[in-house]
């Protein structure tokens, strides 16, 4: 597409119905071509492999723990009806919701603050949010273990201020703390990207018209930054639903969460059909939720 070819159609935007239709068609094709590389890539390197896993969910575990690809059946899905699975699901959902809500509460004011800095400072502050996460994931989790452990710095701090010993290591609190730590940047990045591009004159106008800080936030800033809030919530909620390393390291693996359940099926029990069926159902539910959301008039994102 060169400028020469494009120009007439662009200028003819309001000329005649035929031109409008042609323009519309061209725009549609352009959109398709723009999306094509990503989707071609994902089809080859994601959806085809995904098809294999979905197929495995209808297969059978052999005595040896390998997967026999004959005599397709629904056995692996039947297992999902066991009460232990719904317990695990409820527990994991609760944990993911708590993590997401805490991330929202912490990240919103943070991103807002970031967006009010000068451009140079903004970028620097953003990069310094990410830098800790370029160290090693496991090392960070084990560092938290030391921080939260018996006589660790956290406990010494609370003792110093007279709150007595705190030992939250290997509790659900430690798991939430670890998840919030790990996923907070996933909330901050899209939220900041959305808040930063907000039309700030609207905020200004709202305050000038006598709205309180909270009213301005509630009625102007929040609606404007909603895409960031939603994107961030998705990026935090979904991975925390499937998290398993942090719960094992900081929670001591004392309860089974969805992520560990899937790992156990694939690796410990070597029961690939069940691992595959849990994953398939999880993905299907999320996919349907997304489609329902769009259909209900939710903005794409």
């Amino acid at each position: 597409m060169t400028a020469v070819v494009d120009k007439p159609t662009e200028q003819a935007r309001s000329a005649t119905p035929e031109f409008e239709a042609a323009n519309e068609r061209q725009k549609r094709r352009r959109g398709f071509l723009l999306a094509l590389p990503a989707y071609a890539y994902l089809v080859l390197f994601f959806f085809i492999p995904l098809g294999i896993v979905v197929a495995y969910s209808f297969a059978t575990r052999t005595r040896n723990g390998s997967t026999s690809l004959s005599g397709w059946n629904l056995e692996a899905y039947r297992k999902l009806g066991e009460p232990i699975v719904s317990d695990i699901l409820v527990r994991s959902l609760l944990l993911a919701v708590i993590t997401t809500v805490i991330c929202l509460i912490v990240a919103y004011p943070f991103s807002y603050f970031l967006a009010t800095r000068s451009p140079a400072v903004r970028n620097l502050m953003l990069v310094f949010v990410m830098i800790p996460f370029w160290s090693n994931f496991l090392v960070r989790n084990y560092a938290w273990r030391v921080l939260l452990g018996n006589d660790g710095p956290a406990s010494q701090l609370t003792q110093a201020v007279g709150m007595g010993e705190t030992n939250i290591l290997f509790t659900q609190t430690a798991v939430v703390l670890g998840l919030v730590y790990g996923f907070l940047p996933f909330m901050i990045l899209p939220m900041y990207a959305a808040i930063e591009r907000m039309d700030w004159s609207l905020i200004e106008a709202s305050r000038d018209l006598g709205a309180s800080g909270f009213q301005t936030f509630r009625n102007v800033a929040l609606p404007l930054s909603m895409p960031g809030v939603i994107a961030g919530s998705i990026l935090v909620f979904i991975p925390s639903l499937g998290a398993y390393v942090t719960p094992e390291i900081l929670g001591g693996g004392k309860t089974t969460l969805l992520g560990s359940y899937i790992v156990v099926q694939f690796l410990t029990a070597r029961n690939w059909p069940v691992g595959a069926s849990v994953s398939t159902v999880l993905m299907l539910v999320m996919l349907l939720a997304a489609l329902a959301y769009f259909r209900a008039g939710g903005r794409t994102l």
């Binding site: 060169t2 400028a3 494009d6 120009k7 200028q11 725009k27 549609r28 723009l34 999306a35 990503a38 989707y39 994902l42 390197f45 994601f46 492999p49 995904l50 294999i52 896993v53 912490v106 004011p109 943070f110 603050f113 953003l126 990410m130 830098i131 996460f133 370029w134 160290s135 090693n136 496991l138 090392v139 960070r140 084990y142 560092a143 730590y181 907070l184 940047p185 990045l189 899209p190 939220m191 900041y192 990207a193 959305a194 591009r197 700030w200 200004e204 305050r207 939603i230 961030g232 998705i234 990026l235 979904i238 499937g242 390393v245 899937i262 690939w272 999880l282 993905m283 996919l287 794409t300």
Partner: protein
Amino acid sequence: MSTTRQLRGGTRWALSLNAFLVYLFFYAPIALLVFYSFSDDPLVGRWGGFTLGWYRDFGENQEVQNALSVSVKVAIISTLVSVVLGTMAALALERYRFRGNRFFDALLYLPVIVPDVTMAVMMLLFFTEGLSLVNTVFGTNLAKGLATVSLSHIAFSISFVSIVVRARLNGMNEKLEEAAQDLYASRWQAFRHVTLPQIMPGVVGGGLLALTLSLDDVVITQFVSGPGATTLPVYVFGLIRRGVSPLINAVSVVMLAASILLVVLSLVAQRARGESAA
């Protein structure tokens, strides 16, 4: 863009405090990690006197250096590719309506949703069978390694990038771009000088996310890598059974220092360019 972004009294104070606490939270484990990288005791959490021994070990340990270099290569490749593909997909989905739009939209979430062990297993099966198919058909001798690891990382990063970029694009003003085109800027010029600067924070954010995901992934990488293509996280994961020694802290500190240095250098370069342009 030049509207004043002033915070008023109490809000300003509360937001600053929140930001300070967030950074404290982010850097608390990092401080601990740095501290124990100088401890002369193999157990992180038990101070054994000051030493630079772990850094010396890092200088001598070929395996760790190799793993680090594989990690960095994969991270750079996968970040660059996924940023380009992810941004294009974001633009397409946000700016254009085309057949299957909604469906594509929903599909793009799948790589975010899929549990990573599941993805590890499916990529293992896919690459094993795919490569043997390619090798039979074309008589090649391809094997799993750095390339398959990069391909897998790109596959999960594209979606993350595009979600972040879309959060930026959503509802953004298209008029500027159209105006530029009305002024006879080519499509590419309009994108390069108008759209791109506007979505840059989203692109940078997505890129940072992709980089982090690549540097942190263990399970998928472990399943799709081959001999000698071990990344740093996989190497560390193998170590946990015998204890993650402060050697890994030292490696992390070197990585942190290197990334901070890079950031500073790029800022200096930016400033220099800005001055010469002015």
